[in-house]
């Protein structure tokens, strides 16, 4: 699936429209996306940091797309997630890259990393499991 049709799928999901992100690249093992900062995504109103739950949601969305780019027709079933918060997500775009570590018949394991200006300085890292049956 190409990036254009994957983004058309993204725009059909109400919660993805709320998060306001776009897929930037896609191959059989990876998905990369960019989220635009907005006031409604703030967790700490004093410092204007992204909400931790929003960062986790954005990573989950990117992970699900890496598993099934055609998710609009084939819904993935998230089982659980673990997120390690490494740095505050400040005002500005947030990037996520999901890597399909393992996709079996029943289960998929996906690791995701998010960053802002420097790929080497991760904002958060996450591990997501999905049920495929």
């Amino acid at each position: 699936m190409d990036v254009l049709s994957a983004n058309a799928n993204v725009s059909r999901v109400p919660f993805f429209r709320f998060l306001n992100f776009e897929i930037r690249s896609l191959d059989s093992l990876h998905a990369e996306a960019e989220m635009t900062f907005d006031d409604r995504l703030i967790g700490n109103p004093v410092m204007e940091y992204y909400h931790g739950g929003i960062i986790a949601s954005f990573m989950e969305a990117t992970a699900a797309i890496a598993v099934h780019p055609d998710f609009a027709d084939v819904p993935v079933k998230p089982i659980n997630l673990t997120v390690d918060y490494l740095r505050p997500g400040v005002k500005g775009p947030l990037y996520a890259r999901a890597k399909l570590t393992r996709k079996g018949k029943r289960m998929a394991s996906v690791s995701v990393i998010t960053w802002q200006t420097d790929r080497e300085k991760a904002v958060a890292e996450g591990l997501y499991h999905f049920l495929l049956v």
Binding site: R12, V13, P14, F15, R17, F18, L19, D39, R40, L41, I42, G43, N44, P45, V46, E48, H51, G52, G53, I54, A56, S57, F58, E60, A61, P75, K77, P78, I79, N80, L81, T82, V83, D84, Y85, P88
Partner: protein, 160 residues
């Protein structure tokens, strides 16, 4: 909630209900119970948080965000003299598909607090279906303590 001073309750209400911006305001969270034993919060159904076009199924991510927010509240209530609270890590299990248009209820508490770290756990269900939990989460938080109280920063800081 006799163990919480009236002043602190007022602070909590002010902090949560009078927020100018941010996700917590957007989720329209309502505090139902508050004590040092834990907190209970309601999130009204919001079609924006759904994954399907029919808008009957919530995205797991919003439940994760809800848990993270309510953990913050539970910590604020349970821990004295905190100046900042930052999520260190978060683990969420999605126990059932979140298919309903009912309000979502979260109960969370801080089960252990040290000088630097707070440990929390929480449960999520649709109103009226407490026996059928839809998600469960645990998280740890890094605390900094000091004279600048979190409340003062939240209410008198530049975000006002």
């Amino acid at each position: 909630m006799s163990d919480i001073t009236k002043r602190k309750m007022e602070q909590i209400a002010q902090m949560w209900n009078a927020r100018g911006k941010g996700l917590i305001k957007h989720m329209a969270l309502q505090i139902e119970e508050v004590s040092t034993e834990g907190v209970r919060v309601r999130m009204p159904f919001n079609p924006e948080f759904c994954v399907d076009a029919d808008q009957t199924r919530l995205h797991g991510g919003i439940l994760t965000a809800l848990l993270d927010s309510v953990f913050g509240l539970a910590n604020f209530v349970a821990i004295e003299g905190v100046s900042t609270i930052a999520t260190l890590d978060l683990r969420v299990d999605y126990l059932r598909p979140a298919r309903s248009r009912a309000d979502v209820i979260v109960r969370a508490h801080c089960f252990r607090e040290t000088r630097h770290i707070a440990f929390n756990s929480g449960n999520v269900w649709f109103e009226g279906h407490e026996a059928a939990e839809i998600a469960r989460g645990t998280a740890s938080f890094a605390l900094t303590r000091g004279n600048t109280s979190l409340f003062d920063a939240m209410t008198k800081g530049k975000a006002s």
